[in-house]
């Protein structure tokens, strides 16, 4: 690039020698000329790694999985079977069990975790809390924890006979709870483990959003005589709305794909009580070598996630105007600034 532009300069140089006035138009010309060739190509060259990675590791797997979902291994031969795998999916009671479990965990766990996250973020943001940096970090640390360590930790905590949780509950006179080995409690264990794992991350997202809410709002509200709860309801919550939308959608997607917790804690059991769609996909692909069916499950899950996310976008968008409307004058003022 340097070579080209300098030769261009040297060719134009001698002709435009004498008058110093011509010095002014020169730079734009030079810029324009070099923009004819190089820079048009350059950005794409810079994008090349992304394009290559996208084609090789995203687009190709997407298409390959789509194709695989239309095939089946019949007597060792990969055969095109059309929509057979999807038809089978619709008649598979285990798939519905997995969907039901996933939905149940979603409905219970996500609101619980997000509510906790909001409470934590308000505490993290409060000037009354000493050692805030420490608490913020402490609650965020679980997200960094590796899958295996996480599994071992919670297996040790929730072991029905020798687990620490039951030991502590025993001191309170609460009988041993069959955490991981009872269909009902296994689901509770999964919810608890997920909440421990991801609440801190959501709290940090909320905290970032909280810090963007102007403190004048709180001061003004205080002057107007609003108590703590009113300030939280009318300033904090509406202010958190963008972060709420983000975390609700991310958590929903994450939970619909849920795999880690049942994999390390309950293996999907007992009797499929914690079988999730992700677990079922894994079992079919890697335990039963039924890759066609596993791919079909993957695509079904993708469709479900897309639909649920769309609904959530709609719901949040419709609700947005209401609480913000009383503050309209303020936001328009900001705009004019």
């Amino acid at each position: 690039m340097n070579v080209l532009s300098s030769t261009a300069g040297s060719t134009t140089g001698p002709t435009a020698e004498a008058p110093p006035l011509e010095a002014a138009p020169r730079p734009p010309r030079r810029r324009r000329r070099s923009s004819i060739g190089h820079p048009r190509l350059t950005p794409y060259l810079f994008l090349l790694p992304t394009i290559v990675l996208f084609l090789g590791f995203k687009l190709y797997p997407y298409l390959s999985a789509l194709w695989t979902s239309l095939t089946s291994n019949i007597g060792g031969v990969i055969t095109f079977v059309g929509l057979d795998n999807y038809a089978r999916l619709l008649q598979d009671p285990l798939f519905y069990t997995a969907l039901g479990n996933t939905a149940l965990i979603l409905v219970v766990q996500v609101p619980l975790m997000l509510a906790l996250g909001i409470v934590l973020s308000v505490a993290f943001n409060s000037l009354l809390l000493k050692g805030r940096a420490f608490f913020r970090m402490a609650y965020f640390v679980p997200i960094v924890m590796g899958l295996v360590a996480y599994g071992i930790l919670f297996s040790a905590l929730f072991d029905s006979s020798a687990g620490i949780v039951n030991e502590l509950l025993g001191y309170l006179g609460i009988g041993p709870i069959p955490w991981l080995v009872d269909p009902f409690w296994a689901k509770i264990s999964i919810v608890l483990a997920m909440t421990w794992h991801y609440t801190g991350q959501n709290a940090i997202i909320y905290l970032a959003q909280l810090q963007s809410i102007p403190s004048e709002l709180y001061e003004a509200a205080q002057v107007d005589g609003a108590n703590g709860w009113q300030r939280f309801r009318n300033i904090t919550l509406p202010g958190l709305r963008p972060a709420l939308l983000l975390t609700v959608i991310l958590s929903t997607i994450g939970t619909l794909q849920l795999f880690d917790e049942p994999y390390v804690l309950t293996n999907g059991g007992p009797d499929n009580a914690t079988l999730t769609v992700g677990m079922y996909l894994y079992q079919n692909g890697f335990k039963y070598f039924d890759f066609g069916y596993a791919s079909a499950i993957g695509y079904a899950l993708t469709v479900i996630i897309a639909v649920v996310s769309l609904i959530q976008f709609r719901l949040f968008r419709e609700r947005t105007p209401k609480p913000i409307s009383p503050k309209k004058p303020m936001s328009s003022k900001e705009k004019t600034r």
């Binding site: 060259l45 291994n73 060792g76 293996n267 007992p270």
Partner: protein
């Protein structure tokens, strides 16, 4: 020189992207250009995939083999179990690319590989393997062969069921273990044992959240000459035999003589050491070595015998797993691979070295009959576990057809058992449900 505008530039980028992508992907599956050793020549290098203990056994046979064929190099790789199954699957799914020359394959995976990836394992009759058939127990040999008689694997490890029991616990409860002939009698004895010593008859992973816990049912069902599938591959798990087994399991559980211990290796050792006590421990023959090595302080407290039968005078022998050595058709050095497999498993000299090195229970009859093999063990109160296993293998053990859908059947059964043990479901209903599920998933028929 000027660069031409956008369209061509884009075309160049697209071409470059395509080439780079192709190159990157090609890098993932390296082409194997090694020249095959000529048919009939023994030489060069072979690679073996196996795991820890069986690997030690094969290593031990290498020096003697190299005396016969000095220019053969053998690389025994401890791929790990269960990692090896996924690795073999991946290789076979890729048309044999990256597979070694010899693979150690579990009996429960054999059918899967043979059915899902036909033509990927060498029919060892090409090398005259059929002459070894009479040297191995027929059940073990047949599970490694196709329906048409093709030989896909030579039995390496042949596990009969060891029925281990705590002689001290039975003594304390005042029960003569030798008087017990059937499982019904055993369960009755279990009630007495529980009353007098507090020790459960056996432990089960009732929720089966750590591992599949179908070992006991498979044993009891095999003792009735049945399994998940019959020889045609039709589903038999909800047949009379299977239901009877689950009824026995439910009966023992309802009597309160079954402990609930999660199925992990640590918990197994805790049971062997008496920390989580159990009166009996039916397991593969390999358990004899594990008890002796892992619970040395329990010397004299463990005994071993044939498993009780289901009906008086019924079968008292069952194969409990096993492994094979197979050669993939992708191997470039099949002749050498075969010579090594034949030396290690088909000769007394090789078998002795392998047994001393790894301790896997062999299926080779001359080895079983060899001097000192069934010598009494001090640890087991002067009993000989090996003699018991030999006696079992001498019985006409039922052939277990694992098929390519063993994993699904195993999972469906385990879930059914959990429903029976935890929620009191009816064995017949639970197994019917499981069988229907397997049929729905696999398209297999229910046997009449």
């Amino acid at each position: 020189m000027r660069f031409t505008p956008t369209r061509q530039a884009l075309r160049i980028v697209a071409a470059a992207a395509a080439v780079t992508t192709a190159a990157a992907l090609a890098g993932c599956s390296s082409a194997d250009d090694a020249q095959p050793a000529a048919e009939g020549e023994v030489g060069g290098k072979i690679t073996i995939w196996t795991w820890n203990a069986p690997g030690d056994g094969l290593e031990a046979a290498i020096p003697a083999f190299q005396k016969l064929y000095p220019d053969v190099e053998i690389d025994v790789q401890d791929v790990g179990n269960p990692a090896i199954w996924e690795k073999i699957t991946t290789g076979m799914a890729a048309g044999g690319q990256g597979l070694p020359d010899v693979m150690n394959i579990g009996i429960d995976y054999m059918g899967n590989y043979v059915e899902q990836f036909p033509g990927q394992l060498v029919d060892l009759r090409d090398f005259g393997a059929e002459s070894l058939e009479s040297e191995f127990p027929s059940g073990a040999w047949k599970s490694g062969s196709g329906a048409d008689g093709a030989v896909y694997g030579i039995p390496y490890e042949v596990n009969a069921t060891g029925f281990f029991y705590r002689s001290d616990v039975f003594e304390e409860a005042g029960i003569d273990i030798d008087s017990i002939e059937t499982w019904d009698q055993l369960i009755e004895a279990g009630v007495t044992i529980k009353e007098k010593t507090g020790v459960p008859l056996y432990n089960q992973d009732k929720a089966a959240t750590e591992a599949d816990s179908a070992g006991l049912w498979q044993l009891q069902t095999a003792l009735q000459d049945s399994f998940y599938f019959d020889e045609n591959g039709d589903i038999t798990m909800n047949g009379e035999a299977g239901v009877h087994s689950l009824e026995l399991i439910k009966k023992a559980n309802d009597l309160g003589i079954v402990g609930d211990v999660q199925g992990s290796w640590d918990n197994l050792l805790a049971q062997l050491r008496g920390e989580k006590p159990t009166a009996i421990m039916p397991a593969g023959g390999w358990m004899a070595g594990v008890i002796e090595n892992e619970a040395p302080e329990m010397a004299g407290k463990w005994g071993v015998r044939l498993p009780p039968s289901i009906e008086p005078g019924g079968i008292t022998a069952a194969v409990n797993g096993g492994t094979y050595l197979s050669i993939p058709t992708a191997s470039k050095n099949q002749k050498t691979a075969w010579e090594f497999v034949n030396f290690a498993l088909g000769t007394l000299e090789g078998q002795k070295l392998v047994y001393e090195g790894g301790g896997m229970f062999p299926g080779y009859k001359p080895m079983l009959e060899s001097e000192g093999f069934a010598a009494p063990s001090e640890f087991f109160n002067g009993q000989s576990p090996n003699a018991i296993f030999i006696a079992e293998l001498a019985q006409d053990t039922p052939v277990l057809n694992y098929t390519s859908d063993y994993a699904r059947a195993l999972k469906a059964y385990t879930d059914a058992q959990t429903r029976v043990l935890l929620s009191g479901a009816d064995p017949q209903e639970a197994l019917d449900e499981a069988a229907d599920q397997v049929a729905q998933q696999t398209g297999r028929k229910l046997a009449d």
